[in-house]
Subunit: 100 residues, 2 copies
């Protein structure tokens, strides 16, 4: 990361995991309302993908209805080897919300 750069793409990213659902919703909302974010990227993988979509929908349709819109959704996969040397594929998602 470059220091001194005011806004880089890593500034406003929220990774979705197994914490309570509302933590993530609040996290995304706060990025927009108190951190001055123009865009927030919601990232997750595997079983958390559904949750990423839920967070994006609750932020966009309930908490910041009319204020943020869905800008982009990227899907991808990561491959890695597990302990037994078996190749595992995991899907990933990146949802970008943008201030209107």
């Amino acid at each position: 990361m470059t220091e001194g750069k005011e806004h880089n793409e890593d500034d406003h990213v929220v990774f979705i995991g197994s914490k309570p659902f509302m933590n993530y919703v609040t996290g995304v909302v706060m990025q927009f309302t108190t951190q001055g974010a123009d865009e927030v990227v919601i990232k997750g993988r595997g079983k958390f993908i559904t949750r990423c979509v839920d967070v994006a929908e609750v932020v966009g349709k309930r908490f910041l209805d009319g204020q943020v819109a869905l800008k982009d959704v990227k899907l991808d996969s990561e491959e890695f080897e597990n302990k037994e040397g078996k190749r595992i594929r995991v899907s990933t998602i990146e949802i970008t919300l943008k201030k209107k």
Copy 2:
């Protein structure tokens, strides 16, 4: 649906549910390989959203690698009342794969 119309948008839709994973992968692949689909839409909601992404990734990166590409991802939510009269929100996804 209009009869006589050769291709309407409902032709090539695969709804993802709780059947074995490979049923859906095969279903999507067959739409492209034997049904002449130019585009296939993978739809699902709630907990099946992760599965929709998995199906799209496995079709695009493994079975039809280099032959189909991700065209579009739509996110939305549906609201309805459950038996107790409580409003429930469920996220939905529509992933469109397109022949290259």
